[in-house]
Amino acid sequence: MDMLSSLGDGFAIALTWQNIGLALLGCFLGTIMGALPGLGPSNGVAILIPLAFTLGLGPTASLILLTSVYYGAMYGGRISSILLNIPGDEPAMMTCLDGYPMAQQGRAGEALTLSGIASFVGAFFATWGLILLAPQLVKVALLFGPAEYFALFALAFATLGGVSSTNQAKSAFAAMLGLGLAMIGVDTQTGVPRFTYGEVHLYDGIDFLVAIVGLFALSEVFIFLEHRHGSADAAGKKIVVGRLTPSWSVLKKCTPTMLRSTVLGFLAGVLPGAGASLGSFIAYSMEKKLVDRDGTFGKGDPRGVAAPEAGNNAAAGGALVPMLALGVPGSGTTAVLLAVLLALNITPGPLLFQNNPDVVWGLIAALFIANFMLLAMNIPMVGLFTRVLMVPPRILMPVVAMVSFVGIYGISGSSFDLMVMVGFGVLGWVLRKFDVPLVPVILGTLLGNQMENNLRRAVTISNGDWTTLVDSALSIGLWTVAVVGFLLPIFVGGMVRRRMRRAGDEEGSIRD
């Protein structure tokens, strides 16, 4: 009951004209960003953060805007998967498998509607899952002391590469690079400058917004320049949407699929290091095993469209659970959302639910509202979004670059930050060439100082005794999971990876 009244308060916060407007804008922009190949949820949200920040939006309003973009991108990714056989973002990869064959059979409209409904089901139930699970996780998290937090951060980094990582050494490298970058600046506890080499601009440390926008958005521009991939993927192809409404029998056949996929996707989202791509992958493979008796999967089976879409949208909701309840995000986009909270001076984690219930519940209410908006936008108005696919990257990419510059310049007004951002863009490009995941770098930059503070607090409390780190059952448990989570992918990861690879080949280490 307590929960429902909190949710009611949340709706009261979310249902102001400004917040509804922001949610609508976010959903619209998000769907476009998801639909356009090359712009995924993480870069979409990354570009918009500085804007939300410079516009002086409050924490709740900013989060509503940006999570709407996040949910919207999850919906939008399917459009180009179905129509062009090119995933709009990585989680939509699996949707190509049955979506494109359906489009070839002239059932594109049906596939789009069906996947829209599946996305809605996935996101809707995942938001309920978030409401039920997050407060329980908060109760556990309140038992955490500094030593447990340090272990929790270690766990997040160890598992972030996850089962889909190609090389655990590279994930570790990325995480340490991020943590190392976070060390730059004046030490918060003793006030001595570290790694600044006399450069005054570095005393404040590296602004993680600069790092995020550079690594995600600018590196994408370099990738496009490298391939000189300037014309629209849709150019020269005729897009026929066709009839929009699937028959009742198809919907009925897909309902159990959607529900099963939602559960799986949600779990994949909550677990650290899994994220939406894995959510859609697991959902698809399991449905294939369960219901594909006539071997129709991969040849345009509607259930093969419903499963991954329900799965990835549910995972998107699930990924918000650890981000909000523990302050430790499990995926790229939630890491970026965490950056928003930190930039607005809000400490995520268990205390968020106590100190800023308006932010949490306002956000959750906004997720419900955004979800209905997205359903409305993505079914009758899907034709509008298919037009967006005609915009060629040669026009789009300069706009992305320039908007990134505008956002960062708007915050600090300093040319130095812009130069640092270009530097991060280059770094992002190089790391992506080497298949080093970018998400741990971001997470390291974000959480580095908190991680160090918890370590120092824990050891200081015990008068310099380092064994305090593994003193409680809880922290031993967390360390064990961290170690297993890091080592497991080395042994079983190859198998899962090969299957995902077979399902579709994709460049880019931006994963969600």
Binding site: Q189, A401, M402
Partner: protein, 143 residues
């Protein structure tokens, strides 16, 4: 081979980072751990990871041809120039120039590039400055 070089560079960075960490001035008011310990832990793991990358390299990534590489370098130079010239030229002029260059390199025709550049710049200026009220760099002409 690429990965071996990458690992070697990573190892070098790790050593440099560790050395820099030992150079940090200790304050007389320090906690039990001090400002050096955590950076040194990071450097150690960074070094181990780099070593692992060096010893067990992945297959080579496909590197772009020299022409493409110069393309990227040129774009970097243009972006750095943009960062420097933004306060001098003002937002509209600098952005028009930079986006015209980028769209030209991505395959627009010369005249088209100029038009796209100007439209992008004015479009962003309208949306972000005139509508949303964001403060952008002012040049000699006030925009």
């Amino acid at each position: 081979m690429s990965d071996r070089i990458f690992g070697a560079v990573g190892l070098f960075i790790a050593i440099l980072f560790a050395w820099s960490a030992t150079q940090i001035q200790e304050s007389f008011l320090s906690d039990a751990v001090g400002p050096k310990a955590f950076p040194i832990i990071i450097a150690t793991i960074l070094g181990l990871a780099s070593g692992a990358i060096m010893l067990r390299p992945d297959p080579n990534p496909t590197w772009p041809a020299l022409g493409r590489l110069t393309e990227i370098l040129a774009a970097i130079v243009v972006m750095l120039l943009y960062a420097q010239l933004l306060p001098e030229l003002g937002f509209v002029t600098a952005t028009a120039l930079a986006s015209a260059y980028l769209t030209w390199r991505l395959g627009s025709g010369p005249l088209q590039s100029v038009i796209i550049g100007i439209c992008t710049s004015i479009g962003i200026y309208t949306v972000f400055h005139l509508v949303l009220g964001l403060s952008l760099a002012r040049g000699p002409f006030g925009f």
